[in-house]
Point group: C2
Chain length 350, copies 2
């Protein structure tokens, strides 16, 4: 996959314009549903139809991987927790399981690069490419072939979930330490300084924060040539296996004409990769929420997405994106189900 | 009903503290669910139980009334549209009908003061006290007896919906011109200037905006004595029948120990009335969204509520509040359904 090799067609302008025009005939003051009206037009543009189809059921995919950068103590959580949380996700006990049940979404857990053994579970999709990445501050996190393999798995999972009836995709992640490669990817692609995109992750003190900034700075310096040479080499140099899988997942959903809901900083970094590889992706994505991680906002701004929710969340797994699914459904349903002024016999002031 | 005559007991501090402590044992970094964690603690405090009960199904009540202030052209919509929209609401074609269906809530439409005849509908609860209010800029909008009657109806509707199984109440309104009395109530109770709390309502031009500000200023001047004498006289002087009913509805829900979701500026003005009459109400309310009407933010700030959603909405009917219902349910369900570190075998870093 080379940068900009494939281009996803732009949104269907006619369908989007038709949605906005329909909104002006619905029994409410014009524009009074705010963001929901623009979201409805976006959904119409994605589907090429007005009113847009209902974008549910949603399907969450949680891609899991481990990270060599953990040797620098960028997080207080030990590596083993990734595998433990994968087991928890497969058993239905994690936050995303609860929220997905609430919005009627499925959760698919995919091991693309966990570093410790995981007990067999029928709920786990085992596609481990390697047992975690290498330390991105001293060598490439992975080979380009590994990055491409993870990217391909993400695309396969997207196609599989859509084939089983999903009408929107939700981007989930699990990987202790994965906000560090996310910040590195965001710095690499946007050109912003490490300090502007590194966050506190799951909650680190000032010393750990400084280590994290320094690690990202070193990685960006060390891999400057790879970063300059293209998005896939950059992804391999400073990314993670779940980031690569998510980039493929986003392209898979957007390319098939379905909305993809972006979660926090991991998904946002993957979106930057996806948009660089296949321009047009981001227009088919919805930013579910504004994570407290500063890199998420930098990445979303870079591709012109404004988050729907802002609840101070920083959990990952797809949780913030999942909570936005009812808003997507609402945006489609008001266009499909509300009465127009003429049909309802309500006077329109024009 | 006199100011502060009844006091609603404070939130159960033990249950709220237990919810926060439970959150720290759930399989996620501490605090990583942000606002959802605080909302869960509030729900526990309201119910006096941890984990809190699931606050669904929700029930929306839309109280409808007309307004004498319309003679000053404070809105481009004619008075008849209130009755037409009530018919639309009863037929299921309005925005709140669509959104309530989406979140599994019922919609009850209550005529407390519509000014034009409405066709009989089995979906309409006819409790009209008078055919709209008088012009608040030249005389009291209604008598204290009328305000108390509307207030009582709101309380009855709350009790009825809870009796039929609702586990949270959503505040809806319909009334052409009703942002003017809402602004007047907010100015009267908070002491803020008319210009700071008057908004563009359904969308008015500069000239109409200036008329609206002037009308609210005149009303506050004219009824200064009534406003000083107490909340119920203030409500009668510058409020509306639906505002009065909503105040009773909020007290009914909060007093019975259930969360009440506040919608936009009409509901927020009613919340000010409710909190003044029965202190402790606001702690049992959740601000569903931030309306674009400036008065809504002034009112919510006054009682210390921070909205959950901010989607640029200004429709009323309960729409913004209804969209927040899944967030309330999510807040309760994560506390009820997520695994703890020890049960899931996930290492907690403490």
């Amino acid at each position: 996959v080379r940068d900009g090799e494939d281009v996803i067609p732009p949104l269907d302008r006619d369908a989007a314009a038709e949605a906005l025009a329909l909104h002006d005939r619905l029994t409410k003051p014009r524009g009074s549903l705010g963001r929901l009206e623009l979201l409805g037009a976006q959904l119409a543009g994605i589907a090429g139809a007005c009113p847009p189809p209902v974008p549910t059921p949603a399907a969450v995919a949680v891609f899991a991987g481990d990270h060599g950068v953990l040797v620098h103590d960028v997080t207080p959580w030990p590596r083993e927790v990734t595998a433990q949380m994968v087991t928890n996700l497969c058993a239905g006990g994690a936050a995303i399981n609860v929220l997905a049940r609430l919005v009627g979404a499925t959760v698919t857990v995919v091991d693309v690069g966990v570093g410790t053994p995981i007990g067999v579970s029928p709920a786990l999709v085992g596609r481990r490419i390697r047992a975690g990445t290498a330390d991105l501050s001293v060598e490439p996190a992975m080979s380009i072939a590994d990055a491409e393999a993870a990217f391909a798995i993400g695309g396969e999972v997207a196609g599989d979930l859509l084939g089983r009836g999903a009408r929107c995709l939700v981007t989930g992640d699990m990987g202790i330490g994965n906000t560090t490669p996310a910040a590195a990817l965001i710095a690499a692609i946007t050109g912003r300084a490490a300090r502007e995109v590194v966050g506190r992750g799951t909650g680190i003190d000032d010393a750990a924060f400084e280590r994290k900034v320094a690690v990202v700075e070193r990685a960006i310096d060390l891999h400057a040539d790879a970063i300059r040479s293209g998005t896939m080499p950059a992804l391999a140099a400073v990314g993670g296996l779940e980031h690569a899988a998510l980039a493929g997942f986003i392209i898979g959903g957007a390319g098939a004409g379905f909305p993809v809901v972006i979660d926090g900083v991991i998904a946002a970094s993957a979106l930057l990769v996806a948009e660089a590889l296949e321009p047009g992706c981001a227009a088919r994505c919805v930013a579910g929420h504004r994570s407290t991680e500063p890199g998420a906002t930098v990445a979303l701004d870079h591709v012109g997405l404004e988050p729907l929710l802002d609840l101070g969340m920083r959990l990952g797994e797809g949780t913030g994106a999942c909570l936005a699914v009812p808003l997507l459904e609402a945006a489609a349903r008001v266009l499909r189900e509300m009465a127009t002024f003429d049909v309802a016999g309500v006077k329109d002031i024009g």
